[in-house]
Amino acid sequence: MTTTLVPQAAPAPPRAGVWRRLRHSPGAMAGLVIVVLFVAVALAAPLLAPYSPVASPDLSQIRPDHIPGFSAEHLLGLDQNGRDELSRLIYGARSSLLIGLVSTLVGALIGIVLGGLAGAFGGWVDAAVTRFVDIMLALPGLLFAIGIAAVLGKTTFSIMIAIAVVTVPAFTRLLRGAMLAERERDYVLAATSLGLRRSAVILRHVLPNSLSPVLVQATLTLATAIIDAAALAFLGLGGDDPSTPEWGRMLADAQDTLTVAPRLAFLPCVAIILVALGFTLLGESLREALDPKGRR
């Protein structure tokens, strides 16, 4: 193993190292930029959108064979109900962010609790959790979502629950695996030998060191959650108010006018892909940056 011979200051702590690696990775930076833009657009929607997404200014312009396209007043044209497409896209970001965030957070939380219990206690607790997760994995996600919608009604809430539930197994397994591995490490043994309570050892030592893979997974899950939300809305499960813009819904509605105004399908599609790509790039780069083996 070589070490630098030039006298150096002490190396920076692990977190700064992660930052530096992320800064140098083009994928991470691209992903970060997209994600930040997405969140900014979603939060600042009222300020950014030129028009209201639900008011329909000009039904007069809509005809079966022509929907006004790109123009100076309406940059991305109108949709089939005469509403400004750009504003709908911008507000659509809100719904996507909301659904994506909430379902990922709920899924992660449940997964962390289950995985944490399994990892902390082992034994029959672990066996029970693992069987439960196996059962969840056996359920096809889509049918499950439809089932939830049937019970809870076709609302955004049902979509969030459905997506959250489907993400739980991944989080559970990740945290459980990481914790079971960390528990064998010497520093955990050392903490025990110091006479710390078992709860303190788990909560203050094992858990914080096991969360990296969960963080990576959360980022990646956000990406798929947004796609899943769009898919479920496309299938008509996210009822609520049909006029509230949501990218998947917009995609579904654009089917009717596909030949007349293909951009109405194209634009929400691009938006979904771009945002999912951003989160995925960020997540993968985060995984590489956090991987201790990657550090030379």
């Binding site: 702590p13 490490r185 010497d186 043994l189 050392a190 903490a191 030998s193 006479g195 309570r197 303190a200």
Partner: protein, 374 residues
């Protein structure tokens, strides 16, 4: 070193334990770390300690198909203030033994007694309360320090958990004391493990082991992971600390020269059992067990004149698997003196051949009386 303070603190923790004559409060005794037994009972004694790890196989349900006999019946004694060295190569079980003595790994059989208390019988909270008196220094300080915890936090945590200092200021002062005792600057408290060199990290590990003012410290390969020029520094530090704080050590290592330097008595382990025990000087000068002889002859000496002329006992074959140790004497498959009949059938027990020296061999007298080898 401020000895009186640690004594009182340890005494306080002892209050909550089942009382024992040997541990009657020494608050008013001379400044000495821990409550030393007044009589000459050993501080630590192990009887018949076994650690067998089950080997599980199975498709649907895990069945136990065998056991890895990491520690297979060990008896040991350590007196207050002395250093016992435990030496052996990989697979001999010495690290597992060290952990079993502290019940960091559960012994599957046998009994460990610390200062009159049966450690193996304690319940979890009793064990937790006893732990401050018996601490461990781990081999790889990078792995044994939580990478997310600053050195100061790592040292303060046990102090806080056992209530051994007055508030934050008290803890910080104790942390500074500990860092000073191991030769690290006070500024080290704010840094993280990876910012230090190997030798410095090991010093942090030592400081942590001393944080609770233990009576017994088990050092598991304390210098193996360090550079040669740093090993000597850490060895000297450990020896100094023992003298200053009146500690009792169990030093586990594979480097015979280091063990000899630090220990009063040495136990040599092979494949889960102790094969020879006695004063370190004598064992190194005149080993009695064939394995010890081979071990000593294998240690390289940094002197070309010695190396070119010395006679080596080269062992045959490889180490048997601890999951399937040989019948009879565990060493007989590689022993240059093995006899065909009894060595393969009967396992020798540790018996005293001269006062203070025990050997587990059927033919010690003949082998060392200059009789024939195989």
């Amino acid at each position: 070193m401020n000895d009186p303070a640690p004594t009182n603190d340890t005494a306080t923790t002892n209050d909550t334990e089942p009382m024992d004559d040997a541990t009657s409060m020494n608050d008013d005794a001379e400044p000495m770390s821990g409550a030393a037994p007044a009589n000459d009972l050993p501080l630590l004694s192990a009887t018949g300690v076994q650690v067998h790890f089950p080997i599980k196989r199975g498709v649907l349900i895990d069945r136990t198909v065998g056991h890895v006999k990491a520690v297979d019946g060990v008896d040991l004694e350590v007196r207050q203030g002395e250093t016992l060295g435990v030496v052996g190569e990989s697979g001999c079980g010495k690290s597992t033994l060290g952990r079993a003595l502290l019940r960091l790994v559960e012994p599957t059989a046998g009994r460990v007694e610390f200062d009159g208390t049966d450690v193996t019988a304690l319940d979890r909270s009793g064990l937790r309360r006893l732990r401050p008196r018996m601490q461990m220094i781990f081999q790889d300080p990078m792995a044994s320090l939580d990478p997310r915890q600053s050195v100061g936090a790592a040292l303060a945590e046990p102090i806080r958990a056992h209530g051994l200092a007055e508030g934050r200021a008290g803890r910080e002062r104790r942390v500074r004391e500990l860092l000073d005792a191991v030769g690290l600057p006070a500024s080290a408290a704010g840094r993280f493990p990876h910012e230090f060199s190997g030798g410095q990290r090991q010093r942090v590990g030592i400081a942590r082991a001393l944080a609770l003012s233990p009576d017994l410290v088990i050092a598991d390969e304390p210098v193996s992971a360090l550079d040669v020029s740093v090993q000597a520094q850490v060895v000297n530090l450990l020896v100094d600390l023992q003298r200053e704080l009146g500690l009792t050590y169990v030093v586990i290592a594979h480097d015979l020269a280091v063990v000899r330097h630090m220990s009063d008595r040495v136990a040599v382990m092979y494949l889960g059992g102790v094969v020879e025990q006695g004063p370190s000087e004598e064992i190194c000068r005149e080993p009695l067990h064939p394995y010890t002889k081979a071990l000593l002859s294998a240690v390289p000496v940094a002197d070309p004149d010695v190396e070119t002329v010395r006679e080596r006992i080269i062992l045959r074959g490889d180490l048997p698997s601890p999951a399937d140790p040989p019948a009879g004497c565990r060493f007989h498959t590689r022993c240059p003196f093995a006899r065909p009949d009894v060595c393969a059938t009967e396992r020798p027990v540790l018996r005293e051949v001269t006062p203070g020296r025990t050997v587990a061999c059927h033919f010690t007298e003949t082998i060392n009386g200059g009789e024939s080898t195989k």
